[in-house]
């Protein structure tokens, strides 16, 4: 979710939350000759710093016959480089008191380090080494193949409702690069030659396809020198070639399917709608719309379906924002003796009501207040702040959105929300899955 800090744009909110200019997040930015964009933020709350390297490569950039490569590289990047022996990257970070992680999505692969601030050189050195000197070799590839297979078993195949997203997206985004999950196909990974991984690495893991964000208790001038020392000599590459199958309009109409999952104890309904992409102007209204529907105990769906009618014991919704498209995803668990179809009908009635009558002033104000608190909370931590800075630059070309994006939320009107509901909540725009433990 896009996050914000504060603004004096609307006087009510400014006075409501007692915000001041002191909360503005100050950043410095530079782009090296090789295209690597670097963002610096000084935050002296604690003697730590976060180093985030954000590569613009995700599962949507993969060959449809070789899915799971971006995620596989999230793993391979912890193998050896020319300078670092196998199984040592984690050791190096841990032994200075730091921690590290990484994640991959449909659009991005992000490497995250947090270290005591005086150790800032270490993650910069490691990231520069694995940016261009990773040893993509048989031993590491074979090790990670086994681990990724277990990851898939753990996260998808053996989890109750674990394949819901895979089933929803394979239909909602059929024919596009969002059709498959980030973890990809085990078969594709198993069949792939080491040479194919090397080509993928050389194509995408380049300075001109990356953003480096550093936040913490740092001296910017010194850190700039380190960045130049470690990344400056890496040559600029040609633009990455992306396989990307475009997302065309959804034309399959409403799809409803029963899924039999012996692992579950409770039946459930999952619904996914096509929604705006993250940079679309509708995205802000769409986000507030989903909050009004499902965020908190006083949200519309919770009040109606859980508290008043008691047709459901749990209703949740989220907005999955992607670079080229988006999805609204509903998950609801029925109360005892209630049918999934009836639950969906009640959800549809609530959506119809919202489209007809719109939202109230209080609901809109509540959604904006919630955004405000969330954003302040997220920017109190150097790890999430650096992540947000890298993300804002990558997708919007504007890291300053960390300070200014609130204006876009505050500018959303009731009419915008109604329009977004009308536009995206059509029944012909969705996939419905009914999960049962046994055949009906």
């Amino acid at each position: 979710m896009k996050k914000i800090i504060l603004s004096l744009f609307v006087l009510f909110l400014a006075s409501n939350f007692g915000l001041s200019q002191s909360n503005v997040i100050k950043i410095e930015q530079e782009t090296l000759e090789n295209g690597l964009h670097v963002i610096y933020n000084v935050d002296k709350s604690a003697p730590v710093c976060a180093v985030i390297l954000h590569y613009k490569v995700g599962s949507k950039d993969e060959n449809p016959q070789r899915t799971g490569f971006a995620h596989f590289f999230e793993h391979l990047m912890f193998e050896a480089t020319n300078e670092i022996p196998r199984s040592s990257i984690g050791k190096y970070i841990n032994e200075v008191g730091g921690e590290l992680n990484a994640h991959t999505s449909v659009d991005e692969t992000v490497f995250e380090n947090m270290v005591p601030a005086h150790q800032i050189k270490l993650p910069l050195w490691i990231e520069s080494s694995r940016m261009r000197n990773l040893q993509v070799e048989k031993e590491g590839v074979e090790t990670q193949r086994a681990i990724v297979k277990e990851e898939r078993s753990n996260r998808l195949d053996n989890q109750p409702y674990g394949d819901a997203n895979e089933k929803l997206y394979s239909k909602l985004f059929k024919g596009s690069s969002y059709e498959w999950q980030t973890i990809g196909s085990a078969d594709h990974i198993n069949k792939s030659e080491v040479k194919e991984f090397q080509n993928f690495y050389n194509n995408f893991y380049q300075p001109n396809n990356a953003t480096l964000a550093i936040s913490g208790d740092i001296d910017v001038d010194s850190v700039k020198k380190y960045v130049k020392e470690y990344f400056g000599s890496i040559p600029k590459s040609k633009e990455p070639v992306r396989f990307e199958l475009p997302v065309s309009d959804y034309t399959l109409g409403e799809i409803k399917e029963d899924v039999i999952d012996p692992k579950i104890q409770l039946p459930a309904v999952f619904v996914a709608y096509r929604a705006p992409n993250k940079t679309d102007n509708d995205a802000y209204a769409a986000e507030l719309l989903i909050d009004i529907l499902s965020s908190g105990a006083s949200s519309r769906l919770n009040k109606k379906m859980v508290e008043e009618e008691r047709i459901a014991v749990q209703v949740s919704m989220y907005y999955d924002q992607m670079e080229k498209s988006g999805a609204f995803v509903l998950n609801a668990l029925p109360n005892q003796g209630k049918k999934l179809e009836d639950m969906l009908e009640m959800f549809d009635d609530e959506i119809a009501l919202l489209i007809k009558k719109g939202v109230t002033d209080r609901e809109l104000e509540k959604a904006k207040n919630l955004k405000e608190t969330e954003s302040i909370q997220q920017t109190k931590n150097v790890w999430s702040k650096a992540s947000m800075l890298a993300s804002y630059h990558t997708y919007y070309g504007d890291a300053q959105l960390i300070n200014n994006e609130i204006k876009k939320y505050l500018a959303v009107t009731k009419a915008d929300i109604k329009k977004a509901a009308e536009k995206y909540f059509g029944k012909k725009n969705r996939v419905v899955l009914y999960y049962y433990q046994h055949q009906k």
Partner: protein, 447 residues
């Protein structure tokens, strides 16, 4: 690049002030003038291990935010959601918590809401029935979660009939017989328990203290009864819940550990880091990186008031389970017989020291640190001393903890997976029991 000998900045316990309102109620202020947000937490030293009737603590804790004399459930959440605030409750075996988190502007209202929830609950019949239905669904979801099941089975067989061995939510059959009187009974014990209120953020100390003394009115007596003693099991036992076609095996291994005030505790924590407490631990290195048996394995020191436990947890490739258990036991044997290398000790020490720095950035994190001091009755400078102890640990200190806590005779092992695939891998083990999803033994397997 050699960075291992560079010293980590010293962690300092966040500054706080403790005010004793009465013998049974303390207030802690953690003032952070840079924070736009406020965190308030009320804690009570009563938890599900103090229940008279199974399930009453979990139900009561949920109902404390579901309506009181001044506001209905709907009104509470209409208001808090509108503020962009969050109001939550939680109950563990040993403690109950109410938390409020919002913009600093709402500190006064947050305190009032918490006071109403804890002092004036209604336990409306309609809300009780709604909550029971909801908890029943939660229990059913838990029963489909192999991680939950393996943990539940471990706790049951580690603690036997002690309350720590029972699920916090109880069984569905427990839930069905609960009523309003159970809620009143458990609530009265919360009211008469020791309580602490933590306020963290940017606020006026005197004004806030005055407000607290006006709106919180707790009895000045503590009637908490002693919990039963824990009877430890002797020997090594395996408890298996059969989940056909499970695809993977979910494993927990438990063993007694020592508590915060033991002089060995810092050493135990550091040994645990290098054993299974971080990504580059021995267990993760062998079972994930070398053998590919699992996506991840971790060990942790689980902290309970009466005892601590060393717990090892992983979801494993089903056919590798026997080999993985043997590997874990081998690694524990190695630890209890051999000193670790100096560089491994340093790495684990540095990681431990760094984790304190990384987890003290926000007001919520700072509140957690101070709350732990209160919860476990630790000295105000406990963490400063702890950090100092970790920094000074040597190989002999560590080895003492290794010998004491990593012997493998008394392991309790719980497994959730397909019996057909798993039992043939356990031929080297005796004392294997088949149990139900609650960890209750159904039969013993003859070895």
């Amino acid at each position: 690049m050699d960075n291992s000998n560079k010293l980590i900045p010293v962690f300092k316990t966040p500054k706080f002030e403790k005010v004793e309102i009465n013998e049974n109620f303390d207030v802690y202020f953690i003032n952070n003038k840079f924070s736009e947000l406020i965190s308030i937490r009320l804690s009570s030293n009563i938890g599900t291990a103090d229940e008279f009737v199974k399930g009453e603590g979990y139900l009561t804790s949920k109902l404390l935010i579901a309506g009181n004399e001044n506001q209905t459930f709907k009104e509470i959440f209409d208001e808090t959601d509108f503020m962009g605030a969050s109001l939550n409750q939680a109950i563990s075996y040993d403690s109950f918590y109410l938390t409020f988190f919002s913009s600093k502007k709402f500190i006064k209202r947050g305190l009032e809401i918490i006071a109403d929830c804890i002092q004036k609950p209604l336990f409306d019949e309609n809300e009780i029935e709604k909550e029971k239905t909801r908890i029943e669904s939660e229990i059913m979801l838990d029963l489909s979660d192999t991680n939950f099941l393996s943990q539940q089975i471990l706790m049951k067989n580690f603690f036997n009939n002690h309350p720590y061995g029972l699920s916090k939510k109880g069984k569905i059959s427990d839930l069905k017989i609960l009523n309003k009187s159970n809620c009143h009974s458990f609530h009265s014990r919360i009211m008469q328990s020791k309580k602490s209120l933590f306020v963290a953020g940017n606020f006026d100390r005197n004004e806030t203290l005055e407000q607290i003394t006006q709106i919180f009115n707790f009895p000045n007596e503590n009637i908490l009864e002693e919990k039963p003693n824990i009877i430890k099991k002797e020997g090594r036992s395996i408890y298996l819940f059969n989940k056909e076609n499970s695809g993977q095996a979910n494993l927990r291994i438990g063993k007694s550990a020592t508590n915060h005030n033991d002089f060995n505790y810092p050493a135990l924590q550091v040994v645990n880091v290098l054993f299974g407490g971080f990504f580059m631990s021995r267990l993760n290195n062998i079972l994930r990186e070398e053998k590919g048996n699992t996506y991840g394995i971790a060990s942790l020191i689980s902290v309970l008031k009466q005892t601590n436990m060393l717990i090892i947890a992983s979801t494993l490739k089903e056919e590798s389970l026997g080999d993985s258990i043997n590997t874990i036991i081998e690694q524990m044997d190695v630890l209890s017989n051999e000193k670790v290398e100096e560089n491994e000790l340093n790495r684990a020490k540095q990681f431990t020291l760094g984790s304190f720095l990384r987890n003290s950035e926000t007001t919520q994190q700072q509140l957690n640190i101070i709350s732990n001091l209160d919860n476990f009755k630790l000295e105000s400078n406990y963490y400063d001393k702890y950090i100092n102890s970790v920094g000074n640990l040597n190989l002999d200190d560590l080895f003492n903890a290794q010998i004491k806590y990593y012997k493998t005779e008394d392991l309790i092992i719980s497994i959730v997976g397909d019996k057909k695939a798993i039992l043939p891998q356990l031929q080297d083990f005796s004392n294997i029991y088949i149990c139900n999803e609650y960890g209750e033994v159904l039969e013993k397997i003859n070895s």
